[in-house]
Symmetry: C2
Subunit: 168 residues, 2 copies
DNA sequence: ATGGATTACATTGCGCGCAATCTAATTGTA
DNA sequence: TACAATTAGATTGCGCGCAATGTAATCCAT
């Protein structure tokens, strides 16, 4: 019977510094998400950098491809970004010729964002990107969907609990 | 039979601008990861901000709690961060009294990072954080583990394919 | 109509994240 | 030993991400 031995070994291991498993980096979902996010940003780079695009800028293009002519607020909602992030980002995209920004004549507070020809044209070239990325990640479509939906639920839960905490 | 009708409707929807499903923001795993990452950072804030800690700084503490007295390089490896990110971050943590930085006397190139009493002490208070977060996310332990392991595989796949692309 | 909220966006400041470059120490090799 | 290559960190520059604040336009209740 070496159970007591292995027990004392694992105790020793904890005493040596590795600590409770829920405080170990490798066991943290938040860190897995954090690392995956960086890995995705890096994985997109070969597709985006040659165009002079960043990943967040690509997200804005995705949004505008779905629906052109949106306000800064409308763009920010699904991306969960405010004007503090979007205003300079959109200005850079305008300077690079992807989009146009102009004040709404009906409501001078509003800035409407529309695609340029260059912005629309990149949509075709970008069509291959998602599949290439999923291939690089070694994911098939059902696995991808399941993972995405679970992450969405987690994100929703975190946001919801934050909202509750803020309102109480 | 309204199948043809619904078919033409969905065609119309695509024509109206929503586009191919794999180019829609909502269907992108990368975006789900991106959004989850931000949600986690926000969810950690109530625990970390009162201490004057940021989320990446907390990750460094997690590392040092597992093993004290690491070099900048050793700290950066599991976090996938280089000295360009870590050097200023560690200087801020040193200024805030969480850690100490000093040159290794055997190899003057190396900076060794060790916890202060304050840094060690926070470990106890931080013990509750992971469970609180998982509760906020609405996750049980098995779901969490499964999700974390799938994300790790994705991250590994992305990094691996990047490495291959770089070497070829 | 008018003064006080509200709204949309812009600005500022700070902390990553990362590429590119620099410096100094160490290692390997002729 | 001397010199090139490698290594560890530091530095610089730029683009987010986000809180806090500012400004101008609009809305709303009196």
């Amino acid at each position: 019977m070496n159970k007591p031995l292995s027990k004392s070994l694992s105790k020793k291991k904890i005493a040596a510094g590795s600590g409770p498993p829920e405080q170990q980096l490798e066991n943290q979902l938040c860190f897995a998400v954090y690392a995956a996010g960086h890995a995705f940003t890096q994985a997109y780079k070969p597709f985006l950098e040659p165009q002079g695009l960043t990943y967040p800028q690509y997200l804005v293009l995705l949004q505008l491809w779905e629906r052109d002519d949106q306000t800064v607020k409308q763009l920010g909602e699904p991306l969960f970004l405010d004007s503090g992030t979007l205003t300079p980002l959109l200005k850079r995209m305008e300077a690079a010729g992807w989009i146009m920004r102009r004040r709404d004549s009906d409501d001078e507070r509003v800035v409407r964002v529309t695609l340029t020809d260059k912005g629309r044209a990149f949509r075709e070239a970008a069509r291959e990107i998602p599949a290439a990325l999923m291939c690089a990640a070694g994911l098939d479509v059902p696995t991808l969907s399941a993972l995405r939906n679970k992450l969405k639920r987690v994100t929703g839960g975190l946001r919801e609990s934050r909202k509750i905490a803020r309102d109480s």
